[in-house]
């Protein structure tokens, strides 16, 4: 191309004013290598420069929180001497370009975040968002992403126990691939990514460093797709950023790192993710208040002729940085040799430099040989923590009121509710059948139900009868109409999902997938989301212990709908029997537990519902968020289900929360899981059939009187008695269970095999 030569800092993604800031920090002009280091570290992806001022508003504290946001993963005390670490991250743009490898390396990255904390990764979950499947490219993306997660997750040996699957046109050019990982550790093994002890060694573990992923954080993750077909027409220049995952290397790296930690051979440990070596070395040094000398010539390379900036910023996968004392080096070397993991001393912890004004500053020095030429020298904390923070302009979308006024809640039912219901049924089994969900013999409830439930057990953990539960949730349809209330309702729904397996929610992690932060409407959505999340977490007593922000999810100037994804972690105190599940029994009474009507303007809001979206109606109102109505219901359900998990006698045979698709879908799913139908007795309107708002559960009991007595002031509505082969709801729905099963189980495969 023959446009005028772009100044280097801009080519590296830095603005003119950021260049000025760098000059201020260094009190001189940066050289090219230093600029490259700032380019990646001050990228949106690494520095959170557009979101950080907002994220500060999230509540992060609770008694059981051992590690909150800011570390590689959040950690809670789960009891019995066991801590649980959890983190969620996005790998959106890489997956849009190479779905298999993008998703695979997303799994690899999130695992490293968790075992960095000393935890053995025990579960993965994968919230996924694609365009509608009537398009061949979307099907290619779905198949690639799912096989990438399957290929990496199964091979590395961590069960994938759940996720989300959303199809919406807003993701057609910008699919979202989020990955959550949780792991457990004996509380005393908890380690942080801190470098300390002048004279200690920084050891690079794992793969060789190649040119893959150079500039991934600044080029790929911190800019939108220019063309409106997303990655399909991405220019070749961005393509070398694709990384290839090697789960076999990662598996050996996990085992080697956990053994290093068990044997007390490391002082600190940090994964290499976005921005590679520069990120890991500057973050560990900054956290420890020390300096670090990095010898670029000591880093094992996969390709000849790599320049220092390439070596420092490469995002080659499956690498970790360990800080160790020199005395332990030979033990570390031997242990790594056993696991066939490469280990090389690439850096040294050095004392901070004392400046003229008396401040002491830990410097990151890049050298050619430990005693060789200094190629770059910058304060570690200026890279890791001192990127400029932006309070970008925010503006409520001007058309939002019009959109909200276009409310489908009052639509007359058109066509056949039977057909509508069948169209809403989709079983994601085609996805999760490709995931090993059972490894480690912990999975009591795997994918396909309300939340995953596992025994809190694993190699090296103290014995415990506890269980832990995880649910990932998102509702971009709600959040598009009202990001603040939408995320609050999403969190309430996630808490309800946990309740279905008897778990009380303990902590939240989030992945905020939004459009271009330079669009004021997007920043407004983000800010509202943070406030809504804070309100909900405060009301429900939940700390946010970690998260990730993915911006620039746009293509051709169109932003995705705001898509905050939450991952909730819950605990069951005694897990010795499986929770009831969805399989009601012949003759049981089916009960709606919780308020029938939504709080707020509309009794049965259809705005943002799957039913309305299916009909192309994307406007309207959503329910209010009223924790005072939700909390007592959830507490009751948790108590009922936990009692089953503790193997106490119970009349409860089934439980399911009313989620996506509303009451009609919840009843269909339960009918499908046993091949038993139900005749619903109360009269139910069309809106109530499909309306979505959290705080309602369908439960089945063999002794309604006893159940009612325990429910106390929680409102119950008797829906009917289980039996027969049909689901009948007033004059609106009359379907055979067979029809429901066939449609639901075949929907996804049918869409994926569609021709064209």
């Amino acid at each position: 191309m023959n446009s005028p030569v772009e100044p280097l800092h801009r080519a590296l993604g830095l603005t003119d004013s950021e260049l000025g800031d760098i000059r201020g920090v260094l009190a001189r002009d940066p050289n090219a290598l230093e600029l490259a280091l700032y380019g990646v570290m001050w990228s949106e992806h690494c520095s959170y420069k557009s979101s950080r001022i907002h994220l500060k508003r999230l509540p992060t504290k609770a008694e059981h929180v051992l590690v909150g946001p800011g570390e590689n993963a959040g950690v809670i005390d789960a009891g019995d001497g066991i801590a649980v670490a959890i983190r969620i991250e996005s790998h959106n743009h890489p997956s849009a370009i190479e779905p298999y490898q993008g998703a695979a390396t997303g799994v690899g990255g999130i695992l490293r975040d968790v075992f960095t904390m000393g935890a053995r990764p025990l579960v993965v979950m994968d919230p996924l968002f694609f365009g509608e499947l009537d398009d061949a490219r979307q099907r290619w993306l779905v198949e690639g992403v799912v096989s990438g997660i399957s290929g990496y997750g199964n091979s590395v040996g961590v069960p994938t126990v759940g996720g989300e699957l959303t199809f919406d046109t807003c993701y057609a050019s910008n699919p979202l691939v989020n990955v959550l990982c949780a792991g457990a550790l004996p509380v005393e093994r908890l380690v942080l990514g801190v470098a300390s002890g002048v004279g200690n060694l920084a050891v690079l573990l794992g793969s060789t460093t190649g040119r893959d992923g150079i500039g991934g954080v600044s080029v790929l993750a911190s800019a939108g797709f220019a063309g409106d077909d997303g990655a399909a027409s991405l220019d070749d220049a961005k393509r070398p950023s694709v990384q290839v995952g090697d789960p076999y290397e990662e598996k050996r790296l996990i085992e080697a790192c956990l053994e290093l930690l068990d044997r007390g051979l490391v002082v600190g440990i940090q994964d290499l993710g976005g921005a590679g070596i520069v990120c890991a070395t500057s973050e560990t040094a900054a956290r420890g208040g020390v300096g670090m000398d990095v010898d670029v010539s000591a880093i094992p390379l996969r390709e000849p002729g790599m320049a220092p900036y390439e070596i420092m910023t490469s995002e080659s996968q499956e690498r970790m940085l360990a800080i160790i004392t020199p005395e332990n080096w030979s033990a570390v070397e031997a242990l790594c040799a056993k696991w066939e993991v490469r280990a090389s001393v690439i850096g040294r912890v050095v004392a901070p430099v004392v400046l003229e004004d008396g401040r002491s500053v830990g410097m990151l020095r890049v050298r050619d040989g430990f005693d060789g030429e200094v190629l770059a020298e910058v304060p570690a904390s200026s890279l890791a923590d001192e990127a400029p923070l932006y309070d970008r302009p925010r503006r409520r979308p001007e058309d939002l009121d019009d959109i909200r006024d276009d409310d489908p809640s009052l639509d007359e039912p058109v066509g056949s509710p039977n057909d509508d219901l069948l169209d809403l049924l989709i079983d994601p089994a085609w996805v999760y059948r490709q995931y090993d969900s059972q490894l480690f013999l912990n999975t009591v409830v795997g994918p396909g139900r309300d939340a995953a439930l596992l025994r809190l057990a694993g190699p090296g953990l103290p014995a415990s009868q506890r269980g832990f539960a995880i649910s990932t949730d998102s509702n971009p349809r709600w959040c598009a109409l009202d990001p603040r209330v939408g995320i609050a309702l999403t969190i309430a729904e996630s808490v309800a999902n946990l309740a279905c397996v008897g778990a009380s929610a303990k902590a939240v992690v989030n992945c905020l997938n939004f459009g271009n932060p330079e669009h004021p409407e997007v920043m407004w959505q983000l800010s509202e989301t943070v406030d809504g999340m804070s309100e909900a977490c405060d009301a429900l007593g939940l700390p946010v212990i970690g998260g990730n922000v993915s911006l620039y999810n746009e293509s051709g100037g169109n932003d995705i709908d705001p898509t905050p994804v939450v991952g909730l972690l819950g605990i069951v105190d005694q897990l010795v029997a499986p929770p009831p599940g969805w399989a009601w029994r012949d003759g049981d009474t089916v009960v709606l537990v919780g308020e029938r009507e939504a709080p707020g303007e509309r009794t049965f809001p259809l705005g943002g519902s799957r039913w309305a979206t299916l009909r192309g109606r994307r406007g309207g109102r959503i329910s209010d968020f009223d924790p005072s109505r939700i909390v007592p219901v959830i507490d009751f359900v948790v108590g009922e289900v936990a009692s089953v998990c503790a193997a106490r006698a119970s009349d409860v045979s089934a439980v399911h929360d009313v989620g996506g698709g509303g009451l009609a879908v919840a009843l269909s799913e339960m009918a499908a899981s046993t091949a038993l139908g139900v005749l619903i007795e109360p009269s139910i309107t069309h809106a109530e059939l499909f309306s979505e708002f959290p705080g309602r559960f369908v439960m089945a009991t063999s002794d309604f009187e006893a159940f009612e007595a325990r429910a106390g002031s929680v409102r119950l509505t008797r829906l009917g008695t289980v039996g027969g082969g049909r689901l009948v709801i007033g004059a609106l729905i009359d379907l055979s269970v067979e029809q429901i099963v066939t449609r639901r189980s075949g929907a996804l495969e049918a869409a994926l095999n569609a021709l064209g």
């Binding site: 199964n154 091979s155 090697d246 076999y248 598996k251 056993k338 059948r433 013999l441």
Partner: protein, 223 residues
């Protein structure tokens, strides 16, 4: 107390599950690193599931060259019970200790779900306590589980009652619905499903107990 060796290749990932399966039945389990060459202290050997050497090249192709495999072959020759589960089955076929080969599943995707197995022969260290025709719900978790062999091999497997387990609803395209086989002397067994994952109703099924218990009972020291 009987003691079973659970072999770990780099990339194995069901070694804890296999060990739990054995200890749950009152026997001892000890991990054996793939470079070990002495198995004389064991009453039986398990090659667990996973992705030995990343399954690169072919599942089991690199693992069969590990030093421990010579010892496994010797152990088997002496009549010691050897069980290969999933990836372990693949390793045993690559090593020539069991006939045939495992190809990619018919649908070219990884499959993780319950299957119903039908016991086809009780003359093996894995099925001695079961009954012929017994149906067992046991999960599969594999990408390359389609059992393949030539006609002559298949006919002799059937004639010798070496097919020990078949799928009721063939999930992966295996020849003759084969889920598990044994060698001619019936002490080496391999199967794609995971019996060690079906030993507790809390986790869904306890139907694998009869298989694991047969194997543990078969344990004998091979001096």
């Amino acid at each position: 107390m009987k003691r079973f060796g659970v072999v770990i290749f780099p990339g194995s990932n069901c070694e804890y599950d296999a060990a739990l399966g054995v200890t749950q039945l009152g026997a001892e389990a000890e991990f054996v690193w793939h470079s070990d060459t002495d198995l004389s202290r064991f009453d039986g050997i398990i090659l667990p599931g996973g992705f030995a050497h990343g399954d690169y090249l072919r599942p089991g192709a690199l693992a069969r060259f590990s030093p421990v495999m010579k010892a496994v072959a010797h152990f088997a020759l002496e009549g010691g019970p050897v069980l290969g589960i999933c990836n372990g089955f693949q390793v045993l076929t690559e090593a020539g200790l069991l006939a045939g080969a495992l190809q990619k599943n018919r649908g070219l995707t990884f499959l993780s779900h319950d299957t119903t197995l039908i016991v086809a022969s009780t003359r093996s260290v894995l099925t001695s306590e079961a009954t012929i025709g017994q149906e067992l719900v046991v999960p599969i978790n594999h990408f390359s589980g389609a059992y393949t062999c030539d006609d002559a091999t298949y006919e002799s497997l059937v004639a010798n009652e070496q097919v020990i387990l078949r799928y009721r609803d063939n999930p992966n395209g295996s020849r003759g619905d084969v889920a598990g086989i044994c060698n001619e002397t019936r002490n080496v067994v391999g199967l794609m499903p995971h019996p060690e994952r079906a030993m507790s109703t809390l986790l869904g099924s306890a139907d694998g107990l009869v298989l694991m218990s047969s194997f543990v009972s078969a344990g004998i020291a091979v001096g």
